[in-house]
């Protein structure tokens, strides 16, 4: 079994996000999107069962490759990525087109994603990739049981439901669904010798266009900070008064 798992390098979420012409400014050193750790964890649990090969697929400025290294440290076998200036500011469809081509180049059986990236959160790429690959998408997976079958639990609006994983499909994994493993020192050292290969965009069959034209970004006035009271034991009374004023009680 061959598994492709998507890992996005994003600016460290601890820092403020800035934009130029509607495109996120990406520093040379980016980190692995935490959202992708859940997908990688699912891939690694499948690898343990099926002795599968797990390849990280990624698109975007490679920079120091720190995020890719972090994905390999968790236990993926290798990584391939596309880094091309013409892809800057790509919409979700084009991103999905590139990633599905990478999955095809690996002849991957199972392609795994987080549900949405932390910096872009369009939340549509996994489903789009499945459509490009003409396989089913098992979206919003929040758990898996590895037995005779691989049973995936999907989050639904009302609760949850289960499906058995088909031989070929795309899976999106919700945050919190599984517990991503932490690499130890040995894993971190081992990752350094794992192959990371750049794939040329020209070698991929890209059919989608940029159909979204950026106009501008405005910062929202969020500061409506009102009264702030330090509780010295009686602050609850302020809440009671306010609830009365608002006619909640």
């Amino acid at each position: 079994m061959k598994i492709a798992v998507c890992a996005k390098q994003i600016p460290d979420p601890a820092n403020e996000v800035t934009y130029s012409d509607g495109i996120i400014n990406r520093p040379d050193e980016q980190v692995l999107d935490d959202t992708d750790r859940y997908g990688i964890e699912v891939a690694l649990q499948l690898k343990e069962k099926f002795d599968a090969e797990v390849t990280i697929i990624s698109m975007g400025p490679a920079g120091t490759q720190k995020g890719l290294q972090q994905a390999l440290q968790m236990g993926a076998d290798k990584a391939i990525y596309v880094d091309d200036d013409s892809l800057k500011g790509s919409n979700s469809l084009k991103t999905a087109n590139v990633l599905s081509e990478l999955a095809k180049s690996l002849t991957a059986d199972i392609v795994i994603f987080g549900t949405e990236s932390t910096d872009g959160y369009s939340g549509t790429v996994p489903q789009q990739v499945s459509r490009f690959l003409d396989v089913e998408c098992i979206s919003y997976v929040k758990g898996l049981e590895v037995g005779d079958n691989i049973t995936l639990t999907r989050q639904t609006v009302e609760g949850s439901e289960k499906v058995n994983m088909p031989e070929k499909c795309v899976i999106s994994v919700t945050a919190g669904g599984v517990e991503p493993r932490y690499p130890n020192f040995k894993d971190i050292m081992a990752a350094k010798s794992k192959p990371i290969e750049q794939i040329s965009l020209g070698d991929l069959n890209i059919v989608s266009e940029q159909n979204v034209e950026f106009l501008n970004v405005d910062t929202v006035e969020s500061s409506k900070a009102g009264e702030k009271i330090i509780d010295e034991g009686e602050a609850y009374q302020e809440i009671v008064n306010k609830l009365r004023e608002l006619k909640v009680i």
């Binding site: 549509t124 609006v157 945050a175 405005d218 409506k224 009102g226 009264e227 609850y236 306010k242 009680i249």
Partner: protein, 305 residues
């Protein structure tokens, strides 16, 4: 502009998200029809003034890819240009599939849109709601995923008069369907929402939140952190990846206010925040901020209500 709203069913009726989009479409006087997807037998979703088609699927099969193909076929046959759906699990799946069929990238998290010279321009909330991103769509088709509560709902009378189309099952069988028990006021439509975060320290301390909610007839929500920790079911999560609420009063208990959370509650009319950390970002959004230990403030509040 010929417009399609992908509708959803909740409690045998059109979902609030669907009605909100319909409200916007009516205000723009778009030439609108609705295709509602569900598995109920005869839901009350028919609209007097707007064409409604019901795509009935079986919930024992994961067949949204087949549903999407059906919708794409209708879009092409009827020359529909604008396709709208709520940012829900189902519409995210369907609109993503359709976007590949139509070779037109969708825009997610849309909070407003407009039509100028035959082109759709959108406003969407990015960076956890801190910034607004404005864009114009230049392709033949425009596909938008719209955040809940972005628009006022259409006021409609619903009937059972519509055409129904059945869709085949896929090879993927669905089993062990589990429906979480719901009790008390629901997050989406409650006038008062009380949400809990990590500052509640322990799951057992949520009891005092339940007591307060009962006294105020409020719905209970939580942050992603406590949902991930298993203190509350996902259906109660408020935030980017959970529900969007817009109550008259929102009481944030022990919530620091990560952007992830803010985007789900920042449009609440009046926000009361209780947090130990004076610097917590939630205070930026609070009309009334109490700097103090939630675990001591709430019991006193409960005793005095």
């Amino acid at each position: 502009m010929k417009t399609l709203i992908i509708g959803e069913i909740i409690n045998n009726n059109l979902s609030s998200g669907t009605l909100e989009i319909l409200g916007k479409a009516k205000s723009m006087e778009l030439e609108t029809q609705v295709i509602t997807v569900g598995s109920d037998d005869t839901p009350t979703i028919g609209l007097n003034e707007t064409k409604q088609t019901y795509i009935k699927r079986s919930n024992s099969s994961l067949n949204f890819s087949k549903v999407a193909s059906k919708i794409t076929e209708i879009i092409k046959n009827e020359d529909i240009k604008l396709i709208l759906g709520s940012s829900t699990y189902m519409c995210r799946d369907l609109i993503s599939f359709i976007s590949v069929d139509l070779n037109s990238s969708p825009i997610s998290n849309v909070i407003d849109f407009d039509l100028h010279d035959g082109k759709i321009s959108t406003v969407n909330s990015i960076n956890g709601g801190e910034s607004l991103y404005k864009a114009k769509i230049n392709s033949d088709h425009s596909l938008l995923l719209i955040r809940p509560k972005a628009f006022d709902p259409a006021e409609v009378e619903l009937n059972t008069d519509y055409e129904t189309i059945d869709v085949d099952n896929s090879d993927i069988e669905v089993f062990d369907i589990y429906i979480e028990e719901k009790s008390g006021p629901q997050l989406e439509d409650s006038k008062v929402v009380i949400s809990a975060g990590r500052g509640m320290v322990d799951k057992e301390n949520l009891e005092m939140i339940v007591t307060l909610a009962t006294k105020l007839n409020a719905a209970i929500g939580g942050t992603r952190a406590i949902v991930d920790a298993g203190w509350m079911p996902y259906s109660q999560q408020v935030g980017q990846t959970g529900k969007t609420v817009k109550p008259d009063v929102y009481i944030a208990c022990g919530i620091s206010g990560a952007t992830q959370h803010q985007v789900g509650m920042k449009d609440s009319k009046y926000v009361i925040a209780i947090n130990k950390d004076e610097e917590a970002p939630i205070f930026q959004l609070a009309d009334l901020g109490i700097v103090g230990d939630t675990l001591s403030v709430i019991p006193k509040l409960n005793d005095n209500l």
